[in-house]
Symmetry: C2
Subunit: 144 residues, 2 copies
DNA sequence: TTATGTGCAAACAGTTTGCACATAA
DNA sequence: TTATGTGCAAACTGTTTGCACATAA
């Protein structure tokens, strides 16, 4: 357990009285890294390697628990959701529609928008969702 | 039929060989106005007043047809979708989480972002989704 | 007249839930 | 020891589909 995010997460959950079962630890491990912002199915498949009895329901329940604790960011895309447990605060995403990879662009590009919207429209902004879709440089170069 | 958007829409569909049934016209009527960015249920309920036999399936099929023609913008929120048939191109939204109203903020605030992202990350941006969530001025003033 | 659209009911996919059993603390 | 978590299967929700009948053009 060298990942500092994983450490913060397990400490918090322990403090909050949650049990750290092997299934949960495996799920947390994947979410703390959040490589590629996995779907529930992908998380389940990966946990399954180590713990073959783990059910989808447990993955869903663990994610629900983490959402309640504000420790995972859910990115819903139509009927599929992907999760980021390494940076659970809202932040913009840059998504390749060819290879499905997700990049987190520099947030400074978007820094003043909340304030601008409050000033111009009087809204108290509480959250946001910003996704840009396109073709990543790698996919552009392999013209398939 | 005084709404220019509705006129453009019906003309295009006629030209493309689609039949303009009474059900479709009623749905188009609602979507062309898109007051409040209605859900499928809301569209169905409103069409139902005039045409009580209209099924949900027809509403879904009509929306699917309009999506294929690029004439409606779908805004998925978790398990619910809302539709904008008056301005089907991607554009930012400002959403009140109290009264569910949706405002279209000035797009100029976001004008350069696509270009900035292309320059900085090499992505060819094809589309985007920008939603800001908050409390609208009206809801702020009625502290319930 | 006939290709297209409608409406019903069944199917579908992702998610949630109830409950008996298992287990972390 | 016992309150909490797990795993299964059933339920649920929004959406899609197949098919017989209806109808716009």
């Amino acid at each position: 357990m060298s990942d500092p995010r994983l450490l913060t997460l397990t400490e918090k959950l322990k403090r909050r009285g949650y049990r750290l079962t092997p299934q949960r630890l495996a799920i947390l491990n994947i979410l703390a890294a959040s490589e590629g912002h996995p779907t529930v199915e992908q998380i389940h498949a990966r946990v399954h390697v180590e713990f073959p009895t783990t059910s989808l329901a447990t993955v869903y329940k663990t994610i629900a628990m983490l959402k309640a604790e504000g420790e995972v960011l859910e990115l819903g895309f139509g009927n599929i959701s992907r999760y980021d447990g390494s940076k659970p605060q809202p932040h913009p995403h840059l998504i390749c529609t060819r290879c499905q990879s997700i990049v987190d662009p520099d947030e400074h590009l978007f820094a003043d928008l909340s304030k601008d919207l409050t000033k111009k429209y009087g809204y108290q902004i509480t959250s946001y969702r910003i996704d840009y879709f396109g073709i990543c440089p790698e996919c552009q170069h392999q013209n398939v």
